[in-house]
């Protein structure tokens, strides 16, 4: 099985960031006249809200800083920076260069922003693996970060939230977790999109579940199992993209995973769906807490649509580096509730002429 080239790369460091503010689901129910039980059906309690001076770039910087601290490397050793987002501060002007500059990675590096709905951060990881394994770079930094947009009053508003995650990909010998194998599965599926000048995304009715989320994650996971000969029982934990708190449990059940293997990596109920950071924050939560030696299945998903399935083996190094940066729980626990008015101001939903 170690013939997979991916197995020569791994996660050298990981980092998370979630902004401080939280919006309770009741606020959205109250404002837009939803039935009281709607949030419960989504299995989400509250969602994270960024401050007015935050965006996907600033959050991505914070997560990347934590990942570099854990990796314990000189930022100059990073030779590729991939920034996966669907909420770029600029339509044209890379965020990856600002982050690379601010973290001291520039100028001898690749840097670009990637877009594939919620899956771009994962494509950054996979590209990083390829560059590391080929020997073209020593280390790659892959970031997933979003201040997720939702049309006010749309059901998407319950979950669309803000957060970031970052991974330093490097040689497997130096890694806290090794990529045993990976499998990618994409098709053209019209489940969710945002046109160039549109402020909010739209979703195809009836398309978001079965033909998009479930079909692609199951396609990627089955591809991974066929390729490796592994079975569901070989995995200690499973993390799937988390558009709400229900879908990851349901896709796990369809694949045959018991809830106990999914709940430890579930973060959406507490902070909402952070889009490009969603499943990858679930992985960060596991790396913050699990024992060395466990095998994790991770399957991010992005609309449009596609999914990557990774088999990840956690090494002894995970415990050495864990305490070099704040865990995800530091950011989840450090919270302050805001009402819909402050949320609307911070999310720039209030129109102001300037």
């Amino acid at each position: 099985m170690n013939v997979n080239p991916e197995s020569r790369a791994g996660i050298v460091g990981w980092g998370a960031y979630v902004p401080k503010y939280r919006l309770r689901m009741e606020e959205i129910v109250r404002l837009w006249g939803f039935p009281e039980g709607t949030p419960k059906g989504l299995n989400v309690i509250e969602k994270s809200v960024d401050n007015l001076d935050e965006d996907a770039l600033t959050m991505g910087y914070e997560a990347a800083k934590n990942a570099i601290k854990r990796a314990g490397i000189d930022p100059k050793e990073i030779q590729a920076v991939f920034f996966g987002t669907e909420s770029k501060p600029y339509a044209v002007k890379p965020s990856a260069t600002v982050i690379a500059q601010a973290l001291g990675i520039t100028p001898d590096t690749m840097a670009s922003d990637l877009e594939f709905a919620c899956r771009a951060g994962s494509e950054g990881i996979k590209s990083g693996i390829g560059l590391v394994v080929s020997g073209m770079v020593n280390y790659a930094l892959a970031i997933g970060s979003d201040t997720a947009q939702a049309n006010p009053g749309d059901v998407l508003e319950f979950t669309a939230s803000s957060g970031a995650v970052a991974y330093i990909i490097g040689p497997s010998e130096a890694s806290t977790a090794v990529f045993e194998a990976s499998y990618t599965y994409v098709t053209d599926t019209p489940d969710f999109w945002r046109r160039a000048n549109s402020p909010y995304p739209l979703h195809g009715e009836g398309f978001t579940g079965e033909p998009a989320y479930f079909a692609h994650i199951i396609g990627a996971v089955k591809g991974l199992l066929d390729k490796t000969g592994l079975t569901i029982n070989d995995f200690d934990y499973a993390v799937f993209h988390q558009p709400n708190g229900r879908f990851p449990i349901k896709v796990g059940e369809k694949l045959g995973f018991p809830r106990e293997k999914i709940l430890p990596g579930l973060v959406t109920p507490y902070i909402g769906n952070t889009y490009n950071a969603s499943a990858l924050l679930g992985l960060a939560k596991l790396l913050d807490t699990v024992e060395p030696g466990v095998r994790i299945l991770v399957a991010p998903f992005g609309s449009g649509a596609g999914s990557d399935a990774y088999s990840i083996l956690v090494t002894d190094k995970v415990e050495e580096v864990r305490e070099r940066a704040p865990p995800l729980s530091y950011y989840i626990d450090n919270k302050e509730y805001v009402d819909y008015a402050i949320y609307a101001k911070n999310r720039r939903i209030i129109m102001k002429i300037r």
Binding site: D53, T58, E62, A102, R322, Y330, R354
Partner: protein, 140 residues
């Protein structure tokens, strides 16, 4: 900040993005913002100083009268912050409880944020601010 042009901001981006100050190799004092010569002894024998990411508040104030780019952020909290050997005047963000979070000696951590924007079409200026920090045992 208001007078900053795009080219000026670009020239000083290391100071804005990394809060890099200068350490005087003659009198050993550290200062920010960086200058060509030491404001204490005049020496030009200086080296870069990157401050630690955590520090404490020496004194703070808040402003209600602000220039146009800053009005969405009102009130603006400013603090004199001690960061290792360096002292810097920084904007504070994520302030939710003045009484608890803002006092002499209160811990702060540095964060990377938007400082201002040239309207909705112009450049976004990023830089370092400080925010009230939670104690964590995992911090080095």
């Amino acid at each position: 900040m208001e007078s900053l042009s795009i080219s000026r901001f670009w020239r000083y981006r290391r100071a804005h993005y990394r809060l890099t100050g200068k350490k005087c190799l003659r009198c050993e004092r550290v200062f920010y913002p960086p200058k060509r010569s030491c404001p204490y002894c005049g020496s030009m024998d200086l080296e870069d100083y990157d401050p630690p990411e955590r520090g404490e508040i020496i004194a703070w104030t808040k402003l209600y009268e602000t220039g146009t780019p800053y009005t969405p952020y009102r009130p603006i909290y400013l603090a004199l912050v001690k960061l290792g050997d360096m002292t810097a005047l920084l904007q504070l963000t994520d302030v939710t409880d003045e009484k608890k979070q803002l006092r002499k000696g209160a811990p702060v951590e540095l964060v990377f944020r938007r400082i201002k924007e040239d309207g909705s079409h112009g450049l976004i200026y990023y830089g370092i601010k400080a925010r009230p920090a939670q104690p964590i045992e995992t911090q080095e």
